[in-house]
Symmetry: none
Subunit: 378 residues, 2 copies
DNA sequence: CCTCGATCTGAATCTCGAT
DNA sequence: GATCGAGATTCAGATCGAG
């Protein structure tokens, strides 16, 4: 192994050891503040940067689940900033170093949530980075909104930028297309959050890091934007997902991490030969989700307008479609399935085949309209 | 029809016609510059703002499809800005007016792409708007990346903000859940781009506006964040999608549009849009808005007589109803909520769904008896 | 061995009206 | 403005123990 984890005295080291600017610590964890440590690296030396900076979540008090449990919030000191201005200043500083270290044809990836990504995006543009894509990581299993106050926050955003408009960056188009069943890889990626065996745990079984990213995410990024042997820098290394995936894919890496505990975890993780966990590699192909169509979608799209009267095949019952895709009959209200079941006194009912729309010359089941919708939008 | 389309001389009008600040032009198109026209509207007068500002696309030369056709790019004058700073200045100005016009409990939606949404998001936060969600519109039929140089840009982003952290905004949680097959509506929405019959065409068959938004998008937004009768402002009205959907859903609207051609198109389009039937406009009622029933009322009315024994769904605990509508168990006494919480050791508890009455063949939750009472007395 | 149910968890800006 | 109390609120998976 070729791991370095130094306990540095930043001020001294930066100023007095320019030597390090020549020799690059490959496949190594640099322990220390990310800006200080980046400052010690030479100009234009890395091919790609992946950065997962603090999100500045600004959470309030405790949040409880409906059944009584308490949500284990991200309340670590490293995510606390005094103000938006302080966060901006921090972001500007590390972006400045990142830009200096990055090769002219290299690219940078930054991940964030709505709390911080608009600050980061604007500052990237201010620093003359050129946005190539913004990528949406759609979580297949996000935490719900327990209080019913907003839309489920079910995604995070990644920004992918080159150093300038004219830069000739790496994009392995064919690899991405192959990874996506021979369709162009889109800007929305569906992936589960990091859990199960992939999630690094402490001795007490609790998660080692509150925001560990899934390897599948880094896998796709490294595969898309680097060549084998390229050097990848991760200035917010955490549990070392970037290093682990880089190693697996034959890329070189440098990680910067301040916290002692995370450095240890990352070192062990990368050192241990990970059995290729197929499940961690898998990304859910977008096609599989297409068959699921909410009835409300047909209402929104005007295929089954609100106010439409529905009936069953034998015209024994009728119900009316409301604006939100629910149904009302004389005695019941709810989804197409629930109302169908209630009217029949049955435990369950497939509303798609039960309910029909009157058309010229007869009745057409909702299922047929769903197929029509899929055909038009699939 | 009640449409206004004035040809204004902006500078004069703003300064000399404060009268308009009193009377609100409802269901009307105001023709003119968006900042000037907004300046003429009173403080805190609209419930929601939907804004689809210029994206500042910064497109280079013509883009050609593989088979030779030229892509019909957005190259209109209104999408051109000299610099990021100019775009920021413009954005700051219209956001300032938007904030002034918006009611304190109102919300604003802004849609954009990666070209502009990071500017807009940061400036929204700078103006002390509070981001509630960022929403990803996933296009089921995006334009492919013809050159194979990037990921297919398959989404746009919407920001939903209140005026402050503490503001009590409207969110029709139940309606959104109904629209999504009884699952919480997530922050990623799959919808086709506006095409086919919905796309407004000119006399020559070409599209009337380069970036017309689908009605389904506005439908979901208006249904989620407004009540019937609420007033919605769209300062970049274009072909009037916001007005058309607002009218369909029984919301009032004001549109601002500078271009003569778009004003005409929007006016005709909205005139031919029919409002939904009053009953079809309905959505499932939010529990929070139903009339409150004190548990004591059910005791008084004899629906749950004093002395009744209650139990939870798993029959782990029991309690007895007292004459005043309070409960006693072995160890606790108080309201149905307090006793339920205390027995479970939970911070809180909804006694209506926690406690059940034994009936023939099983258990019936108090909530069901409450509904029964409401049906009989509501 | 498998199945079923109970339990736990994840980057979360998570209530509101009456007094 | 602060306080108090009613009462509204969860999805997809992984894990583990019982049968």
């Amino acid at each position: 192994m070729n791991l370095i984890a130094r306990i540095a005295e930043p001020q001294k080291v930066v100023r007095r050891a320019p030597a390090l600017k020549q020799e690059l610590p490959l496949d190594a964890i640099l322990q220390g503040d990310c800006i200080t440590e980046m400052a010690r690296l030479p100009d234009k030396c890395v091919d790609m940067i992946f950065a997962d900076p603090p999100y500045n979540l600004q959470l309030g008090g405790d949040l409880f689940r409906p059944e009584g449990g308490r949500v284990d919030a991200v309340d670590d000191e490293w995510d606390k900033f005094d103000s938006l201005a302080a966060y901006d200043g921090f972001t500007r500083d590390w972006l400045e170093q990142a830009r200096r270290i990055l090769k002219d044809d290299g690219t940078i990836w930054v991940i964030g949530s709505y709390h911080n990504i608009y600050r980061v995006g604007a500052l990237l543009q201010d620093a003359e980075f050129w946005i190539l894509n913004d990528i949406v990581w759609r979580k297949s299993n996000p935490m719900p909104n327990f209080r019913g106050t907003r839309f489920t926050n079910a995604h995070e955003t990644l920004l992918w930028c080159s150093k300038s408009e004219k830069a000739r960056y790496t994009f392995n188009y064919r690899a991405m297309k192959a990874l996506n069943d021979d369709l162009q890889m889109r800007s929305d990626w569906l992936m589960p959050i990091c859990s199960g065996g992939e999630r690094v745990k402490g001795d007490d079984g609790s998660k080692a890091h509150p925001t560990q990213k899934p390897e599948a995410l880094l896998y796709r990024i490294l595969l898309a934007c680097t060549k084998p042997g390229n050097l990848v820098l991760d200035p917010f290394f955490g549990t070392g997902t970037t290093g682990a995936v880089a190693r697996r894919l034959g890329r070189r890496w440098i990680g910067i991490e301040r916290e002692d505990a995370y450095v240890k975890v990352a070192r062990d993780r990368i050192a241990s030969t990970l059995p290729l966990d197929e499940s961690a590699m898998k990304t859910v192909p977008d096609k599989r989700e297409q068959p699921r169509v909410a009835f409300g979608t047909l209402v929104e799209s005007g295929l089954v307008p609100a106010g439409t009267s529905l009936t069953d095949a034998k015209r024994r019952w009728t119900a009316t479609v409301l604006a939100d895709g629910s149904l009302t009959s004389d005695s019941h209200a709810g989804s197409i399935h629930k109302v169908g079941a209630a009217l029949q006194g049955a435990p369950s009912c497939n509303g798609w085949t039960f309910w029909h729309v009157a058309v010229e010359g007869g009745l057409k089941p909702l299922d047929q309209l769903r197929q029509q919708h899929l055909g038009a939008n699939g």
